[in-house]
């Protein structure tokens, strides 16, 4: 794997999956509207090579006004919303009530983008601490790797632990272990769970 990891930026090139193409395309629209966002969850492990499938890419978006959301909706040319065709309802009945909405390209059901606002303090922190991936010359903002690992360990399903393990193994030498330990502590995750990843019982 040829990858450049400098500060808060990761640069690499790869053959793009349909998930990568969807993420890049959707992100470019959000960037055009200057809306802050980060990709999170399983897609991040897939982005860096994990060979598993997900039906969606999850994205946390800064909380924007209804006016700005309506403008964004108009700009999502070629996409439809699974939940409703009414943008006002999407904002009032879903996003405002902290329910995610899903967008797909026209004529496609899978994959889709799961779109939600940064509603909690933790989600806002993930958004604020985001990092940049430059993939084939395109910009993709993602949550920092330490946040991904700690959150996946917090969720705790087998799939989530596997994603955390994959990211840990790929970025092992670049991870800031103090930050990772602090995040685990904040989420109330016992240190022993970190040893699942490293195999080091003293972790």
């Amino acid at each position: 794997m040829e990858i450049e990891y400098e500060g808060d930026k990761i640069t690499f090139e790869k053959e793009l999956t349909v998930l990568d193409e969807l993420a890049i395309d959707f992100s470019q629209i959000l960037q055009a509207y200057e809306i802050e966002h980060v990709f999170v969850a399983g897609y991040v492990a897939i982005l860096f090579g994990r060979s598993r499938v997900s039906e969606d890419v999850d994205i946390i978006v800064e909380k924007i006004s209804k006016e700005k959301f309506l403008s964004l909706w108009d700009g999502l040319d070629g996409y439809y919303c699974h939940n409703t065709s009414d943008p006002s309802e999407a904002y009032d009945e879903y996003l405002e009530k902290e329910i995610a909405i899903r967008f797909s390209k026209e004529d496609v059901v899978i994959p889709n983008v799961e779109f939600k606002f940064a509603n909690t303090e933790q989600q806002q922190r993930v958004l604020d601490e985001g990092m940049i991936v430059e993939l084939n010359g395109r910009i993709l903002p993602i949550a920092r790797i330490e946040s991904q690992i700690s959150y996946k360990l917090c969720l705790g399903s087998e799939k989530d632990i596997e994603d955390a393990k994959y990211l840990y193994d790929i970025f092992e030498k670049k991870l800031e272990m103090d930050i990772l330990r602090k995040k685990l502590k904040k989420l109330g995750i016992p240190k022993s769970r970190l040893s699942v990843l490293s195999g080091d019982q003293s972790a």
Binding site: M1, E2, I3, F12, E13, K14, E15, L16, T17, V18, L19, I46, F48, G49, R50, S51, V53, E55, V108, V109, I110, P111, E158, I161, E162, K165, Y166, D169, I170, V196
Partner: protein, 67 residues
């Protein structure tokens, strides 16, 4: 009926062993990705993900007919 003949303890033990085995495989796979040129691992990844998602989308749109 099925659940009555499986002890909860056995399921937990099986799950633990299965997860350990999965994590060992992921460690091995991550090592392979790190030591393999991007064009090779990403080509394989693309073939798997795209083919599965294409099938899944077709099923979502057309449904499954069981005869």
């Amino acid at each position: 009926m099925f659940y009555q003949v499986i002890k909860v303890h056995d399921i937990d033990e099986d799950r633990r062993k299965n997860l350990e085995e999965r994590l060992r495989f992921i460690e091995e796979y991550a090592r392979w990705v790190k030591n393999t040129p991007n064009e090779i691992w990403s080509k394989q990844q693309k073939e798997i993900i795209n083919s599965v998602l294409k099938s899944a989308d077709k099923i979502e749109k057309e449904g499954i007919e069981i005869r």
